[in-house]
């Protein structure tokens, strides 16, 4: 049975059944305290995408920018590992297959059709958690996710 564990598997496309690999291996980004960080380039791409899509869909970021930052990083991480920004707020049986299929690639179908973003990345103005902003800077992302 093929399993793909995003945070612990370091061999893409190879099912992780054997003993765990040593901790010195590097994946795409920096391993900091056991949490695999996405590359800065991907974070920047997803940051720009989020700003642009928020404008386009007339949605707003969460009042707590930490939530926005975490989701942007999650999207970047999936973009690094899977090639597509799969929604980070879901559990999948087969991530690679889902990324290929596309339903949950950001912006996912529920968002595109009904402006429903359960990640709380894009919030409609009537949502209690919606802030006033449609922008987020790289500094904000770094600050709010610094202790992860």
């Amino acid at each position: 049975m093929r399993t793909l564990q995003a945070s612990t598997s370091y061999s893409i496309g190879i099912s992780s059944v054997g003993p765990p690999a040593p901790p010195t291996r590097h994946r795409h980004g920096i391993v900091a305290q056991g949490v695999v960080e996405p590359t800065e380039k991907s974070v920047e791409i997803m940051r720009k995408f989020s700003e642009q899509y928020a404008r386009k869909s007339s949605t707003y970021f969460c009042v707590d920018k930490g939530v926005t930052s975490v989701v942007i990083k999650g999207l970047a991480e999936h973009k690094d590992t899977l090639g597509a920004p799969l929604c980070p707020c879901r559990h999948y049986d087969d991530k690679a297959a889902e990324a290929q299929q596309g339903f949950w690639n950001c912006p996912c179908v529920p968002m595109r059709e009904r402006k429903e973003c359960h990640c709380m990345l894009f919030l409609t103005p009537d949502n209690d958690f919606a802030g006033q902003e449609q922008t987020i800077s790289m500094e904000e992302i770094k600050e709010t996710t610094a202790n992860m």
């Binding site: 793909l4 056991g34 939530v67 709010t144």
Partner: protein
């Protein structure tokens, strides 16, 4: 409807750090620290065979941080908890590292843990670590909470997505 907005300044507990079966060992005490096996006393100037004393116990790394009340457990530990004897409700929080609402949920659960103390057991499971377990529990959206009653005749209650803390209190008071 008054909704609480949670500040993100509290450190998120969802760090998939070292767990007992994890491959990612950040500390290997046996290789870094070892007691001296040299019979004669090493001189201050000797560097090659200088032994290092264990100055302090290396962190076990079992918990994310000892400050957090909601502990991260492995699938096996959770299964033992569910099967074992309990007289309080059990709350399972399935989360992922980069899921934004999971961070807010974790903060709510910490508050609930403080409120309920020993009247409820609250634990969390990293779905990226425990892939099979999450799949078996049919976890889809994150965060997913399972409320498991101490009474084996009662069905478990499952919620998906961020829910207000009051809803959690209501479930614990009325449904368990």
């Amino acid at each position: 409807m008054q909704t609480s907005v949670f500040s993100f300044n509290a450190p998120p507990p969802s760090l998939p750090l070292n767990s007992s079966h994890s491959s990612l060992k950040t500390h290997q005490p046996n290789t870094l620290f070892f007691t001296s096996t040299i019979t004669n006393r090493p001189s201050i100037l000797s560097t090659q065979t200088l032994s290092r004393k264990l100055l302090c116990k290396p962190p076990a790394g079992k918990y994310v941080s000892d400050d957090y009340l909601v502990k991260k457990l492995s699938a096996k530990e959770v299964q033992e908890l569910v099967k074992g004897d309990r007289n309080v409700p059990l709350i399972l929080d399935f989360y992922a590292t980069w899921c934004g609402p999971c961070i807010l949920m974790a903060q709510e659960l910490e508050m609930l843990a403080v409120e309920y103390e020993n009247n409820a057991i609250i634990v969390k499971v990293d779905t990226d670590d425990e892939y099979e377990f999450a799949r078996d529990m049919q976890v889809r959206g994150l965060p997913t909470l399972y409320f498991i009653s101490p009474d084996p005749n009662k069905d478990a209650i499952r919620t998906e997505g961020l829910i207000p803390i009051q809803m959690m209190r209501d479930i614990l008071e009325n449904e368990m």
